[in-house]
Amino acid sequence: MASGLVRVALAFLVLSFALLALYRNICWVSIVPAAFGAAIVFSLSSPLLLFVGWEIVSWTIFFSIILRGSSGGTESVPVVASRKNVVYLYVSFAALSAVFMLMWIFLSHFSYKSPYFYLAVVASVIKGAIIPFHLWLVPVYSSMDLSFTAFNSAVLSKLGLIVILLPLYLGADYSGVRNAVESFGLEVNFIRIFILLSSFTALYAAYRAVLTEDLVELLSYSSLSQVGYIFAGAFLSLSSGKDVASMALNGTMLHALNHALVKIPFFMLAYFVERKYGTTSLSETGGLYKKSPVLFFLVLPLAISLAGVPPAGGFVSKWLLYTSMLRAGYYVSFFLLGVAGVLSFLYVYRFLHSLFFERLKKDSLKEDDFLELKWHFLPTGVASVMTLIVGVKPSLVTNLLSSAIPEPLSLNVEAHLPTGSIAFAFLLLVIFSAFLWKISADHRYVPDTDNYTSAAVRLDQNPEISYDFSYGFYMPLKRPFRWLCYLNPEKLYDVLWEYLRDGLSYLRTLASGRFTDYIFYISIFAFVMLFVGKVFNTPCFLMIRKIFSFVGGG
C-alpha cells in the first residue's frame, strides 16, 4: 500500500517538475529541497521520517520568504517592511504544527496505529491552513517568489492530506461502517467538526477572493478555498460508510489533481504579470488577450475547471464531493461548499476579465516583453489537456491513481455522472452553432475602441481615456456579505489576544506584546500537560467533546 503512495508521490513530483522545468525562471534553491521533503513525507516509511520531511518542507517555505528580496525578484511589491511579520506569522504556525506532530510521534511510540492520531490530524490541518489556522497562507503566498508559490500551492498545501488519509491506507478492511477510523482512536464527532471547518474555510476564502483587488491575493484565496474542498472531502472519506467513502476519496484525489493542474500555470502567469507590469492590482493589469490570444485559449479550460463547469475536470471532482457529502447527511457543510462553488465562478470570471480583456494601460510595455509568454504555452497546454481528460473521461484518471486509492474504495465515476455524453453532446452542439454562425450573414471584426460608449467621445481619437470597469468589480456584494464579516476568523485572534493580554493581567511579565510568543507558550503548556498523564479523560475535555459533537451534528 505504501509503495503505491510513493508511485503517486513520484508521479506528482514528475508532473510538477515537468511543468516547472519548462518555465525558464526557476528559483531552484527552494523547489528542490521542498520536493525532496515532500517525497520523504509521501514515502510514509516511519512517523519520524514523516516528521523530518514535514520540517524540511516548512523550512524551505521559510527560506523562500526571506530569499524573495535577494533572488532578484522585482522589489515592486512593497514587501520588505511587512515581510518581517509574515515571517513571524509563518514561523509561529509552522512551530505549532511541528509541536503537535512531535507530540503524536512521542505518544504513539513511533508507530502509526495509536489512539493519539488526532494530534497528527491537527498538525496536518494547520499545514493545510483550515479556518482557525488559515492566517498564514495568503500573506506567505503573496510574499514568496511566485514561481515557488506555484509549486507550494499545487503540492505542498496538500501535504497534510497524506497524514489525514493514513487510516484508510493502513486501516485495511472496510466491512463495518467507519471501522478503519475507530482503530485509530478518532472520534466521528471530532472529524465532523473538521468537515464543517474546512467547508467554512472554502466559503470564507472564496468570499475574500471575490472581493479582493489584487491578482496574487485572488489566486491565494482561491487556493485556500480549494484546499478547504479537499480537506472536507478527505475528512468525509474518513468518517463515512464504504460507498460514500469511495466517492469522497475519489472526489478528493481528483480535486487535488485538478487544483494542482490549474494553480501552477495561473501562478506562473501571475509571476509574469508581476515582473512585467510591475504591479499585480487587478485594475491595472490587462490586455494579455491582445498580446497573445493563444495563451488565452490554453488558459480557458483551466479557468473552466477551477469554476467547476462541465467539460473540464473541476466539475467531476466537485460533483463527487457534493454528492458524497449529501449522501453522508452533512447538509450544512454541503450548503457552505455549494455557495463557495458559485463564488468560485465569480472570481474565475474576474480573473479572466481583468487579466486578459481590459485595455493595456501600461504604455511602458514594449512588444518583446510579451515574447516571453510563449514559454507558458507548453506547460499551460499540458495542464489544460489533462484537465479536459479528467473532465471527459475521469475513470481513465482514477485507474491511473488506483495505487493512491485503496482497492475496495475504487469507483467507476462514469456510472454515476455521464461526463462522456455531456462532453460529446456539448461538442456536437458547438459544431452545429458554429455552422449556423457561418451560414448566417457575414460580420466584420472591429477594434475595441469602436464601441457604443464611444458615441459620446471617440475613443480612437483620444486614447488617454481608459473606459474599463475594473475597480470594485463586485463591490455591491460587500453589503450582503456583512454577516460574514462578523464571523471573521481574524477577529477570533484579536479577541483571543485581547483576552490574553487583559484577562491574564497577573502574567503581565509574560505579555511581551507579540502574539507569536503566546502561541509558543500554549504549545509548551500543552506539551507539559501531556506528561501529567491522562489529561484527556478529565471531565472538562469530555464536555468539550460533547459540544463539538452537537455543533458538528449539523
Binding site: 451560414i439 448566417s440 450573414a441 457575414d442 457604443y452 464611444s454 458615441a455
Partner: protein, 177 residues
C-alpha cells in the same frame, strides 16, 4: 449585400426574409429633437406600435431604424453620425418633421442643420411639425412596405457615395468625424 450563405439562400427565400425583416423592426431609442415626445404615446397602450413588430432597443448595434425626431444641432449630428455608423446593415433613417427636410422653423439658426439628406441617407420623411402617433405609424407602414418589397435601402447609397457624405460631414466638423 454580401451576407453569407444564408443570404444566397435568401435570394431564393427572398420575400420570406424580407417579410421577416419588415415585421420585426428594432427602433433605436435615441431622442435627437422635440419629436421624441411623440414616440412614447406611439409605444404605449393607446396607439401601440409593438403590434406591428416595432420594438425600441437601447444600443445602435441592435437597431435597424434610426429616428431623427426634429431639429438636429451640430453637436447632436456628430453623435448621430457615429451611432449610424455603429448600426448594422440593413439600416434605415427616418426623419420626422420639417426641420429634417428643409431646416423648418430653425432655418436661419447658426447651430442647427437644414438638410439632413446631405449628411445621412434618409429613407423616409414623416411630415408635420412633430407628426402625431397616427402619422408615425402610417409612416412606418410605408417603411414596412418598402422593406417588404426588397427595395435597396439608404445604407447602400451611403456606402456607394461614402466620400460625398464624408465631404459634407467634414465641412462641418473638420477631421473630427
Amino acid at each position: 449585400m454580401k451576407a453569407g450563405v444564408l443570404s444566397k439562400i435568401g435570394d431564393i427565400l427572398g420575400d420570406f426574409i424580407n417579410w421577416a425583416r419588415s415585421n420585426s423592426i428594432f427602433v433605436l431609442h435615441y431622442c435627437t429633437g422635440c419629436g421624441a415626445v411623440e414616440i412614447s404615446p406611439t409605444l404605449t397602450s393607446r396607439y401601440d406600435m409593438t403590434r406591428f413588430g416595432i420594438q425600441p432597443v437601447a444600443t445602435p448595434r441592435q437597431a435597424d431604424v434610426l429616428l431623427i425626431t426634429g431639429y438636429l444641432s451640430l453637436k447632436t449630428l456628430k453623435r448621430v453620425i457615429w451611432a449610424y455608423e455603429q448600426m448594422s446593415a440593413p439600416k434605415y433613417v427616418v426623419g420626422f418633421g420639417s426641420c429634417t427636410i428643409n431646416g423648418g422653423h430653425y432655418w436661419d439658426s447658426y447651430a442647427t442643420i437644414n438638410l439632413l439628406d446631405l449628411y445621412l441617407p434618409v429613407d423616409l420623411y414623416i411630415a408635420g411639425c412633430m407628426p402625431r402617433p397616427e402619422a408615425i405609424i402610417e409612416g412606418f407602414e410605408v417603411l414596412k412596405k418598402k422593406i417588404k418589397s426588397g427595395e435597396p435601402g439608404g445604407w447602400i447609397d451611403y456606402e456607394r457615395r461614402k466620400d460625398w457624405y464624408k465631404a459634407n460631414q467634414r465641412r462641418l466638423f473638420g477631421d473630427k468625424i
